[in-house]
């Protein structure tokens, strides 16, 4: 597991959105076969960074390489799975119909549909229209879509928000299994508890990278056991600079 290869390489990334500087020369790496947590308060630029990595964000300058290709290139469209923060499904189709359509677009095997429905524990709701699902169920159905093609890199924007704790634990266990099988995961959250599940952390604040460490290294550097406290300490240490 000690591969030093990075699945994502972001260099000097500058992004403006709506006249505002969202990412100001951000550089970071996401290591292959690991779970990297992208953490920071909401509005700090996490989603913009993820959009740049999947190649749907117009960037002003800098570069983003994903699996050794420029982000958004044609070859990556089957190799990268993306879960948007807002669930994006057809509300007037059932969960299964949504998955069937996306599976055909992705060229994924029909058998995957049943598997991903199991993974996100939606077997009881598979025939329901997506528009009739609760918020949490809809988020899971959307996540199922991102898992369909068995991508090498999964970019998940707040996949566990609003889910019940049991399901959240199960999903993290699933992410762990995926990572063990060689999949790289980049998972964002604005809740620091989620950091515990990650191998590496990217901490962001106001469009800048505050730290890129493993949870243990972060604890060691700051002398704080609780990761939320560690994050605060880190920000205070940097503030007077």
């Amino acid at each position: 597991m000690m591969r030093a290869v990075s699945a994502v390489d972001v260099s000097e990334l500058v992004v403006w959105r709506g006249g505002q500087l969202v990412l100001n020369g951000l550089s970071c790496q996401v290591r292959a076969g690991r779970i990297t947590g992208l953490l920071g308060p909401s509005g700090c630029g996490k989603t913009t960074l993820m959009r740049a990595i999947v190649g749907v964000q117009i960037v002003s300058s800098g570069s983003v390489a994903v699996l050794s290709e420029p982000a958004g290139s044609r070859q990556l469209r089957r190799r990268v799975g993306y879960l948007t923060q807002e669930p994006s499904l057809y509300g007037d189709l059932s969960v299964r119909e949504n998955l069937r359509y996306f599976a055909r677009v992705l060229g994924a095997d029909e058998a995957r549909i049943g598997e991903v429905i199991e993974t996100v524990s939606l077997a009881d709701h598979a025939e329901r229209l997506a528009g009739r699902l609760s918020g949490g169920q809809l988020a899971r159905a959307s996540l199922a879509t991102a898992l369909l093609a068995e991508p090498e890199l999964l970019v998940l924007d707040e996949p566990t928000v609003g889910l019940d704790p049991v399901l959240r634990r199960d999903l993290w266990a699933h992410f762990r299994r995926l990572a063990a099988s060689g999949v790289t995961l980049l998972v964002s959250s604005h809740v620091m508890d989620e950091a515990e599940h990650c191998d590496e952390l990217l901490l962001m604040r106001e469009g800048e990278l505050v730290a890129s460490e493993s949870p243990d290294e972060l604890r060691r550097q700051t002398g704080r056991h609780n990761l939320e406290d560690a994050f605060l300490t880190l920000i205070e240490l940097r503030a007077p600079r």
Partner: protein, 245 residues
């Protein structure tokens, strides 16, 4: 481009439409009802009903497909499904052709029902060629779809998308020769009418309904309809962006 993805998209669009039986009922029932209404409006002028009625059979699919596509495409943009598709191995052409196939199918069913009611029940003249009217109706459905697709890019909300109907479709209906023969329009209006695709759609339909043969001018009509469809489709494709701000 992929046949698999194009067909999957067409099936998906049709499944979505099927989930909305009220819209389907309106799509299929409103044109024949309007045509019936028109017959009674023109009770004192049966000739006028003959000249206007048959081409209308082929114009309904244009107007309805314009609306249906605008709204469906706007939803695709605003719910994030378009962005999701753009991260997947789907060519823009797959999406456009998928929509085109689905709505051409719906447009033909609509035209068949309207034509059936018009020709069989309302006594519309069949001096011309019924199959040709229906074929043109399908072409118009696809033209309406292409225009709807393009204009939907300029709408942020469904309210705005609906407003494009009076803005884009009604002027074409007014100027195409349906209400007043083009020859009797002021030269300026004639000039504007020359530049609008529906003018050619109406002309072609009239020829098909009255004479049953297209002739040289009718072939020009078809060429213009096809060209306008392709142009609107390419412009629509240009508004589907893989990357956004």
């Amino acid at each position: 481009m992929s046949v698999r993805i194009t067909l999957a998209t067409a099936i998906r669009v049709l499944t979505q439409l099927r989930r909305d039986p009220r819209t389907v009922a309106l799509l299929l029932a409103v044109p024949p009802v309007l045509l019936t209404l028109l017959k009674y409006v023109f009770q004192q002028q049966p000739r006028a009903f003959q000249t206007v009625g048959a081409p209308l059979v082929g114009l309904f699919p244009f107007t309805t497909m314009f609306l249906v596509t605008s709204i469906t495409m706007l939803r695709e943009r605003s719910t994030g499904t378009l962005e999701r598709l753009m991260t997947m191995p789907l060519a823009k052409l797959d999406l456009l052709l998928g929509y085109g196939l689905a709505f051409a199918a719906v447009g033909s069913i609509q035209a068949l029902i309207t034509a059936g009611v018009g020709f069989a029940l309302l006594g519309l003249g069949v001096a011309g060629s019924t199959p040709l009217v229906i074929a043109l109706a399908v072409g118009n459905a696809v033209l309406g779809m292409a225009l709807g697709l393009f204009t939907s890019a300029f709408a942020r909300t469904e309210f705005q998308a609906i407003q494009f109907f009076p803005a884009v479709v009604l002027p074409q209906l007014l100027l195409c020769g349906l209400f007043v023969p083009r020859a009797r329009m002021a030269p300026l209006l004639q000039g504007v009418s020359d530049a609008l695709p529906l003018t050619y759609a109406f002309d072609g339909l009239q020829r098909a309904a009255v004479r049953g043969a297209l002739g040289a001018r009718g072939e020009l009509d078809i060429a213009v309809i096809a060209g306008a469809t392709l142009l609107a489709m390419s412009l629509g494709a240009a508004t589907l962006r893989r990357r956004s701000r």
